[in-house]
Symmetry: C2
Subunit: 227 residues, 2 copies
């Protein structure tokens, strides 16, 4: 027999600035090593290790051992969802240094959000998908169906989109994070688009951050699709 959920457990784990930075970095989907996370959180290796232990204990992250590295990732999409929902009510950090200013600009331009793209790039793609009839109008938190029959037009071919995979996962989901004030496309279609951008080299990762850079090829493709 068990009672109510103890939200203090995950909340406490997320409630330290260093651990919050780590989690925010891990929202960028790919697994990060203890060392990378330590650099992101600006901590000594020993402190980093302790914080990661706390996160694992609270069930927020999982570890993959690979050689002498240990790669950490968010435990599941519910954790990602919880972090997003906290971002919606969290105050925005004050920016003091020039370095932070640049990092903030890069995040606004384009970044990954768990397994899809966000920032200005995410919004451009959302508009494109909507104009192309591949997704419905998005409302925050809403889920949408794929069009029937599945189109085979220019946009679909250019991005290499495939039909939904039949899993329970919704085709689109409106995901709001703190820039833009408009939801961007998450869900299966969002994941497909991010995968396409990665494998085709339309974006390149930036070091130690979820921000990504749109390459010249990527920008060309977008402009061509938007015209």
């Amino acid at each position: 027999m068990s009672g109510e959920p103890e939200i203090a457990v995950p909340a406490r784990a997320m409630g330290d600035p260093a651990r919050a930075r780590m989690l925010s970095a891990l929202l960028g989907e790919r697994a990060l090593s203890s060392g990378e996370l330590g650099r992101i959180a600006r901590l000594s290796p020993s402190s980093t290790s302790e914080h990661l232990h706390v996160l694992a204990e609270a069930g927020l992250v999982l570890v993959d051992n690979q050689g002498r590295h240990r790669f950490y990732r968010l435990a599941n999409s519910d954790v990602a969802r919880a972090i997003e929902s906290l971002q919606a009510i969290a105050p925005l950090a004050r920016i003091s240094s020039l370095r932070q200013h640049r990092a903030s600009r890069e995040m606004r331009e384009a970044r990954t959000c768990y397994d899809h793209l966000a920032g200005d790039l995410g919004l451009r793609l959302t508009d494109l998908l909507h104009q192309g009839g591949i997704i419905d109008e998005l409302v925050v938190g809403s889920v949408g169906q794929a069009p029937e029959p599945f189109p085979d037009d220019h946009i679909v071919r250019a991005l290499g989109l495939r039909e939904p995979d039949g899993s329970r996962r919704p085709w689109t989901r409106g995901c709001l994070d703190w820039t833009g004030r408009r939801p961007h496309a998450a869900g299966q279609v969002g994941a497909q688009v991010l995968a396409a951008f990665r494998t085709n080299g339309w974006i390149t990762p930036r070091p130690d951050t979820r921000a990504v850079q749109l390459t010249a090829t990527g920008e060309h493709l977008l402009q061509e699709l938007e015209s």
Copy 2:
């Protein structure tokens, strides 16, 4: 210029067991006084006051002064959403005492969840609304439209449901909390149903908790609608 949201701020505020209990109680929508919250969290008045100060500072709760009472409530529905999403990843409390056991059973049977009903009662109502064609099938986090034209059948009249009020708020939203493993109806329709249950005396509040009790009248109504 401002940077990323600092999720550590709300998370830290929620990350104390006493404050978490208060927030969980406030999920029951109605505002609670400092004294009531102190009893719920089992704290001295002075500690209660400090904790509430922390919650207010983090923007999670708002205060209404009424005479010598101070009534606290969740700041907005985003906060409620964040608490719900943490409940989805939080471990369930172990139950030791008989008293906790009874409280847990009462919560499972029927409780309020921000501004709608949850627990077994919430699920019964969700099924009823679905069978009556008033809401679509629910998926967690999904939003649904009201039927057009708005029906005027037995269920609608019995519950006194009105058409959507034209606000942005979705007609239905699938809200999952920890019992039942199935989403129950939130959104405008959920709020209307709770209001009807309250004003018609189909439920009565239980002291110091979000749990409510279905009255004999309420049970009669439900059985009649379900037949």
